[in-house]
Symmetry: C2
């Protein structure tokens, strides 16, 4: 396997986690980072083997030695920064949500095709062992026909008008930041929703503090997803079928265990390999796809990210949340 | 305490449980039952000390020796049979839901007032130790300000057009039969909903096979309730506040334990007195109220049952479920 030289745009907390994940991935190295804040960039680089530090994102995008770029800026800038890199032919792993709206995602997908540049949403949970195993369990018919999925993601984030979770210019709101996890689970297992009803609570800035949605998928299949910044929720997920049930305990989206049972029996735990970081799986997927010359991941294709964005557009429409730059 | 002589109308499964509960209640005796099916009535009576058996509900309602009547017929007949008894001045404990619609509940409440007859919905969970304890815990501020409640009630009930869970004439549907449990929890803790959005799946008869609703209560408080006949769900409830969380494990609505924690700490179990039957608490409440000459329970007043019925009316309106006799 050839080496993949990674760049990171936006060296915040999530970028740190990704940089740490790269050290776990054979053939990966961190080649450059870009930060508009010189001090911050330097400090970040020092912690990860001193890659090149750019202060302009354009310069990192133009660096011929960089193969793949991880976009870790606030949601409101994903589209802009991903496009910078795609237009330079870089493979792009773009932090979730891929963008603020389906319109932006379409633009990114078009750029990926035009420039033959790989593009994937960093929906890292797609590649975690629990997800692989749960999908296998369901495919084997172990819980019958799945009829109902429920998952929540909530934590208490005190309101700050200019914070990334509340400022609409940054893409603030519960749905895009954390509600996307439950949404992803439902769409991954059930496909495109046939019906969507949503309700929530808006913060003083007009972002969604709380977002609940009920999704219908036909054939009696429904799902309920909840996200909130108003309180910590149980962070659990349930998948119920006609012949059994799967329950993923706290914190469900990154757990290394799950429980399941046939109807009428007690839940039994299944313990998987301990997870070291969690982001290493998606980094490996990007590199595997690049090796094969793919422009999108078969496991997380463009059409899926577009479906997620379209669903979130409709949920936001019902909630009354609009981003100034979407 | 004087003895209360109880009558039961509709000797089905739920009536059996209630009759068994009466044996646990000091001062209670089963005086009569009424069943349109003579054999069934006789068999039921034989199991519970041979009370009088009536074949016409009117005759039980007219029996001067009966103080209180438990209405245990299918939902579609609650209003009719409760009215029979109220008009004879009997105290009525009416199986939940009180009736099919708010209009019917209003009629029952009016009869209760007109005839000075006690009336209470058999929302038995209101009086269970877990509910009393959880309310006390919340009132003490232990989990801060409650922001989010979630509860589900689902089991697999194969479709049968004339079964009580599916036949609209009998009051079929998930919401009225089991969705009322999560709904009750939310309204008991949060009061009247300010907003309701609902979505579900209808069965071939037009009853709700699955019903999800998102309720808003102002001040950032929301709740999500789910009920379904399509699969068994986890039967858990969560109550999340700004400073902590309560979780009631399977089966939440009748559990004798719950868990709670302050934010950032691990859930700790609280084990209550083991529950023997569950219905004995509501029977005692009826008798306590009668002793005090009350016409409604201060803990479960008419206005509360009306609020529940109004909320279910709106949820059904959004789902498209209409009862022929409502």
């Amino acid at each position: 396997m050839s080496t993949t030289s990674w760049g990171i745009i936006g060296p915040g907390k999530i970028a740190k986690k990704f940089a740490a994940a790269l050290t776990l991935v054979e053939g990966a190295r961190l080649g450059a980072i870009a930060s508009r804040d010189a001090e911050r960039g330097k400090a970040f680089a020092a912690g990860f083997g001193d890659p090149r530090v750019y202060h302009r994102y354009e310069d990192l995008a133009a660096d011929a030695s960089i193969d793949a770029v991880y976009i870790a800026t606030p949601h409101g800038f994903h589209a802009e920064h991903a496009l910078l890199c795609l237009r330079q032919g870089k493979a792009v792993l773009c932090e979730k949500p891929m963008a603020l709206s389906a319109r932006q995602v379409r633009e990114m997908v078009a750029a990926s095709r035009e420039h033959s540049a790989f593009l994937m949403e960093a929906m890292w949970t797609r590649f975690l062992p629990w997800m692989i195993n749960v999908k296998r369990l369901i495919a084997a018919g172990s819980i019958g026909t799945v009829k109902y999925i429920r998952a929540d993601f909530g934590f208490l984030a005190p309101f700050t008008p200019s914070g990334r979770l509340y400022d609409l210019r940054l893409g603030g709101g519960a749905l895009l930041d954390i509600g996307i996890y439950p949404l992803f689970l439902c769409l991954e297992l059930f496909g495109r929703p046939a019906s969507i009803v949503a309700s929530g609570v808006l913060s003083p800035t007009g972002s969604d503090e709380t977002c609940h949605a009920v999704l219908g998928f036909g054939e009696g299949r429904t799902a309920v997803i909840s996200s909130t910044l108003a309180c910590q929720t149980s962070l659990t997920a349930e998948i119920a079928g006609t012949e059994g049930m799967i329950r993923i305990p706290t914190p469900w989206y990154k757990n290394d265990r799950y429980e399941w049972c046939r109807s009428g029996e007690d839940l039994q735990p299944v313990v998987l390999e301990p997870m070291v970081n969690g982001f290493e799986y998606q980094a490996r997927e990007v590199m595997r796809c690049r090796e094969q010359g793919l422009k999108e991941s078969p496991s997380l294709p463009h059409v899926f990210s577009l479906m997620m964005a379209e669903t979130m557009d409709e949920i936001r429409r019902q909630l009354g949340v609009t981003y100034p730059t979407e």
